[in-house]
Chain length 477, copies 2
DNA sequence: GGGTATTTGTCCGTATGTATG
DNA sequence: TCATACATACGGACAAATACC
């Protein structure tokens, strides 16, 4: 062993013990030191290398923990037999084709309806809660958690739903999962294996694309929301609906339609309403629209929501609230499932909510989105009065219809080439609808406030829509 | 209308407009105002109630937004037609079943095969990576990520698979998701909508329980793993298999069966093999068993694995590796999906792996599990030679068969009452199999090293199995 | 039938208390 | 502590529909 030479650089950024540890580990794995060899004692090696005993001790300790060497107290350290994972020599050199998508946002102005404003996220607070959790970690949090999600988080969600949406529910009724898309199949399975689901048209496009293409029934939407008359003519037994702010048209399900829908559901035991309340937090005019669930006397509404818009999309926390009558069958069927959101994230979020940071954050974001909304509406109305706007008042996107004789995807292409991403409403159609004019979603969540006006001007310029310099008329409600 | 009396309390904590809104909403829903009635004008009502016009205006605006009333500009507000709400009298009052599991571990000795050793998890290092991520957070990480998962993590997984399992794949082939249970339906959909899946019997019980109950075909398992002859007699086109360490029997799929299985798959275009390599990291004797995927020349193997055993169950990170031929259809079908693991966790894990902590941790854990494994085997063999042990050599659990004339669930019950959790093999049966003797899974991941011997003694005592005090024979490899 | 005053919804500016940072 | 911003509430300007003479 005295043949081994370790290159230790005192000025390296790597600590000395790590250099020593790496050197010895390499020597052992490359069989430069025979198995069973006694290593030099801490004192000897420290003297030889002109470093402290402690440094050697740390390096040896690390090797010991990982099983490269074994310690015989008062005798010495000995090299262990290694069964490290084998390096399988492959015939061809390892070549991994780099086909990675460009991470850089290709569109300077991206009006994607799913983007949120990231400027105001309270990273510092979030980090504090993450840090707190790991500072005094519960080792139990490493193990698999409750299938419905952590009880602490479900409690906070129940409180939040009561205070902000008037929904009275017990944490037991809540099921947490990573994304609406993954909760839906659970709900479908829960109700009936051969359920037929009705969807809004246009509507949230991921739903039909995911599982249900063949069984999904499209139902039209007008300014009062889903046309329940149409639903009544189908044989669907489940309806997926966004009553507070129909996606993407922004329609609010009217009171008449609400009762009609609840009546429809009450007429058969296997009929259920899936209420997706995805962005109820952001209503720019008046109070939030009450949830359908609150009117439900017959346990026919399954309330579904997420933190995607209200906190961040990347956390992937969604949840649903089961009517008590469905609880038992849920527990029978899904006791073998496990919650899909990491437990640490669930507890970070739960603590974040518990201390009131979530509602504060919501208040902050409401203001920000309202400002962006107002700016966008104002820009469009002042300069482009020929463009009709629908679906404002709430959420993080609007719909615009432009008086042009081109196809939506042509206009989208033109916009894209000019660095602007817009999203044709036809992308959200389950069944074709003839729109009088090309219609697009403009999500303003991901566009900076100061970028909104320039972005709109650029968009209209590339579409060949002239700016109306006359002082625009005012916006009608 | 002048008959209606609204109780407005100026000093109430509820704002005036909300009191008015609630009052009118109640009146409308309870049919106290007839449909079509013209409501009093803003000014009239404001005068009458001695409040401001604006207050009335806001209340009317809210009712308008929710569709209880309609506005005819310059004429007035009119009550809309609303159906009566149904109310189905439920027989029993709604009561929520309090089913929260006791958070405290009810079993001092829990041999659950899914439990891991939590004592050695490097919380400090993990916290450091979490902290680093939030110290200089990329705001982009709040937005939705790539559907397949973060490229950085997929790169690390590809490197890891190459180095530890000899699997050559591109990060593009990897899809990350929260748990095997959620990735499986994706794979099934990818291959064929009407796929029929064959499962090992006994096998990972969650699989059939989750989606596939009616379509799943059980295939028997012997000491050489899945009996491929049986598979060939079915019309299944997908087989889910754990070749390296069959769950739960521990059998290794023999070389002969491997080629037979690959040949089976090559005989039809829609045949695929799902190789679940869930605990290949922990093999206690000899080199790791090579992955089936490495033998596959025909792009018929979809490799599936997770960090559940190797890191922690609660992180919920699983992934699969698609053969290049399936990549395109994946991207067509699932481009609208989003990855189900929070981006922050993905990056923490990626950085953790990048800096070598994952392989360090694996080396450390291998050593720990081997010690527990050896202790468990040694205890059983020394003191209870009548108990036959199978499925050792790898993973984090073994199977024991006890020479008792009782039913498995009776024995389980007895054990539970004595504070010991054991898991009958019948829990993992898709189709009943007659075992000569009651057989149980003993997972030693979650039992402390020093608890193993006392736990076994206590278990055997409560089952009435006597300790053999003769010095036990040595364990045969 | 035409002119005018009134009523109406809509829109806007502003004062006050309160919560937020 | 102080400044800011917002929710709430108030009064009034405007234009369209209506009623009245």
């Amino acid at each position: 062993m005295d043949m081994l030479i370790f290159k230790l650089e005192k000025n390296s950024k790597k600590p000395l013990y790590e250099q020593l540890y790496m050197g010895m580990k390499d020597a052992i794995t490359h069989k430069q030191i025979e198995v069973g060899t006694k290593l030099p004692s801490k004192r000897k090696l420290a003297d030889f290398l002109n470093i402290s005993q402690t440094t050697v001790e740390i390096a040896y300790g690390q090797l010991l923990a990982e099983g490269y060497i074994a310690s015989k107290p008062r005798i010495g350290f000995f090299v262990e037999e290694i069964e490290e994972l084998p390096f399988i020599e492959s015939k061809q050199p390892k070549k991994i084709i780099e086909t990675r998508k460009n991470e850089n946002e290709p569109y300077p102005y991206n009006f994607h309806p799913g983007k949120i404003d990231t400027e105001s996220f309270p990273f510092a607070i979030w980090r504090k809660y993450a840090k707190d959790l790991f500072d005094f970690p519960s080792k139990e949090y490493l193990q698999v958690g409750e299938p419905q999600g952590e009880y602490e988080l479900r409690t906070e969600i129940a409180n939040y739903l009561y205070q902000s949406r008037g929904i009275i529910c017990d944490p037991e009724q809540i099921v947490i999962g990573s994304g609406t898309e993954h909760l839906l199949p659970m709900i479908l399975r829960l109700i009936e294996t051969n359920s037929k689901i009705a969807l809004e048209n246009p509507g949230y496009s991921a739903i039909p694309r995911i599982h249900l293409a063949n069984k999904a029934v499209p139902i039209s939407v007008d300014e009062d929301g889903l046309i329940v008359d149409e639903l009544e003519k189908t044989d669907a037994n489940i309806v997926y609906i966004t009553p507070s702010h129909q996606f993407p048209t922004g329609a609010v399900l009217s009171a008449a339609r609400r009762t009609q829908l609840l009546n429809w559901a009450s007429k058969a035991a296997n009929r259920y309403i899936l209420e997706d309340d995805y962005d109820s937090e952001f209503r720019h005019i008046g109070k939030p629209i009450p949830a359908l669930q609150g009117m439900d006397q017959n346990e026919k509404v399954i309330y579904l929501s997420t933190f995607t818009k209200s906190l961040m999309p990347s956390l992937r926390v969604a949840y649903f609230v089961l009517p008590p009558a469905l609880l038992q069958s849920y527990q029978e069927i899904f006791s073998y499932y496990s919650a899909t959101v990491p437990r640490f994230d669930q507890h970070i979020l739960a603590n974040f909510m518990k201390d009131g940071h979530f509602s504060k954050h919501l208040n902050r974001m409401r203001k920000i989105y309202r400002k962006k909304h107002d700016k966008l509406i104002h820009t469009l109305e002042s300069f482009y009065p020929n463009i009709s706007i629908t679906g404002d008042h709430a959420g993080m996107h609007i719909l615009i219809s432009v008086p042009l004789a081109k196809l939506e995807h042509e206009l989208k292409q033109i916009a894209n080439e000019n660095g602007i991403a817009v999203y044709p409403v036809s992308d959200y159609l389950l069944k074709p609808i003839d729109y009088d004019q090309p219609t697009f979603l403009l999500g303003y969540g991901g566009v900076a406030l100061e970028d909104i006006e320039p972005a709109i001007h650029k968009l209209m310029t590339c579409w060949g829509i002239n700016r109306n310099t006359k002082k625009g008329k005012s916006h009608k409600l």
